[in-house]
């Protein structure tokens, strides 16, 4: 388990299936993700089983359950497509429990995962993609140290309208300058 200030990150387990299934079929949640079709329970179950049947590693997806200090599983986050040569990876996060939005849990999960990415995986850059209308998330990412780098114009079609997506990047030096280097 990796400890943050208000959340911890732990490996996902099969017991987490019901929450994962509920979240990815909740349109209020998936509106901000690249998901739109309903996911059958069996599909989510086999995805999770496949995901957790292999240990996390640099080149395999590093995926965590986000758990509050009182033990409540509220979302998932991951680092994927890590490139050893380019020392970069993509980051994804979902707070599936909507009553846990806007309380700093997501930001703390991000900071904890970024520190893991830079301190443990020795990455130089972490990148993410976010829809331009997801202002709450963009504010959170900026707080964490992400910089809006690219506007992918009209890249997404959601709820009947084309939307821009942003690419945001966080470099290790900038992260340490903003949040401090981990004490030795």
């Amino acid at each position: 388990m990796i400890e943050g200030s208000v959340v911890d990150l732990r490996a996902l387990e099969m017991d987490d299936i019901d929450r994962c299934y509920r979240w990815i079929n909740d349109r209020e949640v998936t509106r901000f993700l690249s998901m739109r079709y309903q996911t059958p329970y069996a599909a989510e179950e086999s995805w999770l089983r496949d995901r957790i049947s292999r240990a996390m590693s640099f080149t395999n997806r590093v995926m965590f359950a986000i758990v509050t200090k009182d033990g409540r599983h509220i979302g998932n986050c991951d680092l994927f497509d890590a490139s050893p040569e380019e020392r970069k990876a993509h980051l994804g996060i979902m707070i599936g429990e909507k009553d846990s939005w806007s309380q700093g849990f997501g930001t703390d999960a991000m900071l904890t995962m970024l520190r893991f990415a830079f301190d443990e995986m020795n990455l130089n850059r972490v990148e993410l993609r976010v829809y331009a209308f997801n202002e709450r998330a963009i504010r959170c990412y900026e707080k964490c140290g992400f910089v809006h780098e690219v506007t992918l114009r009209q890249e997404q079609y959601i709820d009947g309208v084309y939307h821009d997506a942003y690419l945001m990047g966080c470099l290790r030096d900038e992260f340490y300058a903003l949040h401090g280097k981990t004490p030795a």
Binding site: E86, E127, V150, T151, E155
Partner: protein, 183 residues
């Protein structure tokens, strides 16, 4: 076959693998290409055998670039990223360096873009290019692409980190004549 001013785009054939193999092992070419490990001729042949046995798909429309004299000088293609928004990524390599800086690549990009919008009914075509590839950036601008930003230190190539520039052209820009010298 799709006809341009200087080049034609045609289906890829198995025999193209020999030239592609040579280009992917040419350091001058791969300076601008995300290739770092050496490819074997056998690997390239196997790749081509698989690719040419299925032909083009809506997920991946790959072409060989020929001059009007039917000399194979490069490859290009469109890869669908999001079916719902009609967003695809364009890739191109002019492997025969004697055809650089002569408008052949720009012509290939223009007709590939036309294929994307008029045959595949795309909404957006994007590409990524290394920041130091000034020839590439200039060519894409000429073909109507717009800079969208740069992913900082996103690639590591020949000893240093560099930015990757992202560019795109939208359907409405194409329809308004962008990249065809009449906008």
């Amino acid at each position: 076959m799709i006809e341009g001013m200087l080049v034609n785009l045609r289906q890829r054939e198995l025999t193209d693998h020999v030239r592609t193999y040579a280009w992917l092992n040419d350091r001058e070419v791969t300076r601008f290409h995300p290739t770092r490990y050496a490819y074997s001729l056998a690997y390239e042949e196997a790749h081509y055998r698989l690719d040419t046995s299925s032909g083009q798909t809506r997920e991946r429309a790959a072409f060989a670039i020929d001059t009007k004299e039917r000399l194979h000088i490069g490859n290009c293609g469109l890869t669908l990223q999001y079916a719902e928004s009609g967003s695809a990524e364009l890739g191109i390599m002019v492997g025969d360096t004697s055809y650089w800086d002569r408008g052949y690549g720009t012509d290939a990009v223009r007709i590939l873009v036309r294929f994307g919008f008029e045959s595949m009914n795309l909404h957006r075509i994007a590409l990524a290019v290394y920041d130091f590839n000034a020839r590439g950036v200039a060519s894409y601008r000429k073909a109507g692409f717009v800079d969208e930003g740069r992913r900082r230190q996103a690639h590591y190539h020949r000893g240093c980190y560099g930015d990757t520039v992202v560019m795109s052209i939208l359907r409405e820009e194409y329809a308004a004549g962008a990249g065809r010298g009449m906008a």
